[in-house]
Symmetry: C2
């Protein structure tokens, strides 16, 4: 994005989403109750962006007819797609990278996410790696069920603080495995914690290389050893912390959004994926939201607002997805449903790899994707300049 | 619309706009304060429609892939245009008839409305009629300024109740003249009160035919006489009522919308129009809204939400306007700004004449417009059937 902007003499503007970072409309009370956090919606955030672009152009008339291209990954990619849907007058085109626009109830298979995550491990470490991970959950549960088991497991994982309970052990380790799949880049990076190149392969390799010390079930020892070796691959940590390195990018805002309009069912069956079987229940989820935040999700709203799978009128938009990114399960992978848009699939690609700066280790696939993206951006800019876009500036 | 539906074997569904008619979300308290009427917005009304169409199709699967065409006149035409903008997945095409989509501050010349109204009188009765009306305002003000003048004027106009004040005399008579222009149909109709065919021409003719009785300035006597003769052309009324026949179609809702997001500046200069000079002042308007309803208008919102004059991405939409309809001043009259849509102008047409049922007196122009509309509707239906439109039905 920065490289492309330089090449095309474009400016890069990062506009922070309301309720994230320092953009808190009610300061420290922004998350206090629904009267304060109720304005945290995607449509209002997009209206912010639309108004910002207009106001910026009105205040800087030399940019009055400059085309604006939207870039975003993950939720930012969803916003990019929706931005083009809601404000095609404002944005000349968009790259929706790894955008799980169909993460909502009933729009995609809720099992997909963990199946793609599992696929990443299968491709990197074969069925051996997948089976070893799948087997570890019940073995860990056996240990946890024993007196002092949780403490022994904490010791094994070298946690800074003990694991608080068995559910936490599962959720934490599962989320970390997913994180490795999301950040499975061909070079070491620090997107979601510091990770080595191809961390999924490294993890599977460590599962093989680690030597059990005979204190617990060897599969669990290998798992914990692999876990810490990836977590601490830079040899900087003495213990495993639960607080950093996890996927908590403004988790507060996102969890609230999930409980309002971003409901995302995830399921697993332990057969076609390597996780514990889990069925998502809308009632339970809704009750949980009510308990935690005092709100219930508007589950059907995204389908109304963002057209569900009915996207045949969308134009000048790229949906790119890495084939090994768990979020691709909710993405647009087939061009048929978006005849006016472009679908790019990046073999062995992780979460919005194409948005990252170029790197010597980049695969041929992501290089090709970036070249294609650049071509489309150039064509959108040309198209914009052929059209008329009256600017609307209100003086009062 | 009904005729077209019959011809095309379509169903006509009328979905009442929230806060209008009997669709009051909080019953009789719906207009009590901003916590109740704050949900009266165009975007929420359109979301109602989008959800309704989806839900209807989900509940009646035989219509799952039936194309839906939106029809609307005036504000309904604005909604139709915006419906296509916001939900092109839901609506296969739309006829936005006499839709003043640019009635907002800074989007069109605020003088246009009264100039087109004046043009209707000029075309029907020549400059004589226009000058006579323009002259009457100060003559009436002279009478009102005299002791007992308002009562004498009330008597002259045969009002049921006396005019409450001079401002009211002007506003009431001005609005009625505008109403005649809006409802200037080639046959007698009862759209905004019962009116004869070509009421503007009738009014100008009556201004000539009426014989002054020498009690007041003859121009005022002729004006009042013409006024009552049109008002009472069916010879059913003994006096002029202020309550009926006026443009108060759910005025409560519309006035509130004007004070929230539908701000519509109107100006006049008394030179290129036949009305009193009036400058619209945003501050004064905002203060007035605050005083009356406890809200201030979001004047720039419509420009953000509905793209202002930047409509080059709009498709499968017809903007039709009557050339003598005052509201056409805020409508889309040139195809250039809407290259993907269709602009129809109906010579001598009044307010959404094309939406009315056909009539033996219909002009060739409106007949041609309706034929063109039918062609476009047929082509939208064909296009819809060539495309894929996955239906999204949530079971919970």
């Amino acid at each position: 994005m920065f490289e492309l902007a330089k090449k095309m003499s474009g400016a890069v503007i990062f506009a922070e989403h309301r309720y994230y970072g320092t953009s808190l409309p009610f300061g420290c009370r922004s998350f206090s109750d629904r009267n304060h956090f109720g304005y945290l919606t995607a449509e209002q955030a997009l209206a912010d962006y639309a108004k910002f672009v207009s106001d910026f152009k009105c205040a800087n008339r030399q940019f009055a007819d400059s085309p604006v291209i939207s870039f975003g990954g993950s939720y930012g990619g969803m916003l990019t797609a929706w931005f083009r849907q809601a404000y095609p007058n404002i944005v000349a085109g968009g790259l929706a990278s790894s955008a799980p626009i169909w993460l909502f109830p009933g729009m995609a298979d809720c099992y997909g996410f963990y199946r793609v995550a599992t696929r990443a491990y299968r491709q990197a470490g074969g069925e051996t790696c997948v089976s070893a991970i799948r087997a570890v959950w019940s073995l860990m549960d056996d240990i946890i069920a024993m007196p002092g088991g949780l403490a022994r497991l904490s010791h094994l994982f070298k946690t800074c603080r003990p694991f608080p309970n068995g559910d936490f052990v599962y959720e934490f380790t599962k989320d970390y495995l997913v994180t490795l799949a999301m950040a499975n880049y061909p070079y070491s990076a620090s997107f979601l914690g510091n990770l080595p190149a191809w961390p999924v392969k490294e993890f599977c390799k460590a599962m093989v290389d680690c030597q059990p010390k005979g204190r617990m079930a060897p599969q669990v020892e290998k798992f914990a050893c692999a876990f810490f070796s990836i977590y601490n691959y830079q040899q900087e940590d003495n213990c495993l912390s639960f607080d950093d390195n996890a996927t908590n990018l403004d988790a507060n805002g996102w969890e609230l959004q999930s409980c309002m309009e971003m409901t995302n069912p995830l399921c697993s069956d332990g057969k076609l994926d390597m996780f514990k079987p889990y069925s998502w229940d809308p009632i339970e989820f809704s009750n949980d939201c009510q308990r935690r935040f005092g709100v219930r999700p508007r589950m059907s709203w995204a389908g109304v607002q963002w057209w569900a799978r009915n996207l045949n009128t969308v134009t000048r938009l790229i949906f790119s997805n890495g084939d090994l990114d768990p979020w691709s399960a909710f993405g647009v992978l087939e061009g048929e449903l978006v005849p006016g848009a472009t679908v790019i699939r990046i073999a062995s690609g992780a979460h919005h790899l194409d948005l990252r700066g170029s790197h010597p280790n980049d695969t041929a696939e992501v290089r090709a994707a970036r070249a294609l993206i650049a071509d489309h951006v150039a064509s959108w800019i040309d198209a914009w300049h052929r059209e008329t876009h009256p600017l609307y500036c209100l003086d009062f």
